[in-house]
Amino acid sequence: MNNYFQDTKELEAIGHEALQSASKALSKILGYDVRIKLASAYMLSPINLMEVLGKESAFDVAIAYSKLKGMLSGIILLAIPLNDAAETLKNMILRTLGVSMLNEEIATDLFKEMANIIFGAVATSLYNKYKIIVSYSVPKVVIDNFMAILDNIVTLYIMEFDKLVIYDAEIVGEENTPRIKILIIPEEGMKFSRSELVAGDFQ
């Protein structure tokens, strides 16, 4: 089964646009300016996903993910290296609520909220710029090894897709701030949007 994005440049452009506004939203909640780094889209076989994305294997991450529905279906995923996640969230709560107390439950909720803001910014941007209507499920949080998470994603897609197109971006801030990874993996739903876009919406 083919995925829609034969030309990954198209996804790159759309993804970049969406993440520009996500970066602005993130800058506000983190309290420092962040920018997009290393954003690219590429096509690969699902089984190669771990090889490409998990070269520095065996590290732990906090991820928040949502299912995308509408004209763009698939997964959107936000990941922070676990070593940095707690500190980032502590800074966030200090900045937004003025308290430094943080337990597991609050931290998880905060991380979900952070994902919600970013995913919301992406969805809004996709509509404003390209008229792509997309909704996303309430973000869920998982703490695990990044490779194990990729392993799950591989099995999710390997039976249905020969190739996956992946938008892969990293958001960075000042020195010594965590690198935040954002992955968007569109499914076949984008095929539908292609016909819509060709009909005249795509600018």
Binding site: L82, E104, A107, F146, P178
Partner: protein, 190 residues
Amino acid sequence: MTELRLIRVTESSLIAELRKNTITVNIGSYIISKNPARLATWALGSCIAIVLFDPLISAGSLAHALLPQPHHEVDSPGKYVTTAIHTMVRGLQSIGASIRRLRAVLVGGANILDFARNISVSTRNIQVAREVLTLKYGIPIIDEDVGGNVGRNVVFEIGKGIVYVWYTARSLFGNKTNISHGGNKFWSVG
């Protein structure tokens, strides 16, 4: 004669020791060895690790299978539970193992991300592995650490017949059982 057994590990120092001098079994592949090798497979999510061991000749095999069975042509036998087990059994026999002496351990089949399709794949991986091992080949499953929603690492020390298993991280604040790389070198792509 060394019997096959599974040990769950939580101690960081032991995990660090176990990570040394390992031969990695990559996703969708398997390794068969008669040597006292230390085979390892990392970060099992919904995939399943199948361990086979002949205690008499200390020969063993470890596979990291993704899917229960092939739907089309088999591109790589280690990719599927059914073909991996078949190839492992034949390979072990070719180096002197007896199917009557073979013992098995299963690890993995988790559902880390909450997607219905994932549950079906991980559950089927476990079911099919159990069925093929016990019903088709009559190989007893000595122990297993399967299911749940957490990633797992496996080291199989063939010389001792021991399968070590430890879980990957689960908490934002500690409770980590694996060794993470530090710093900001994480997201190297391509």
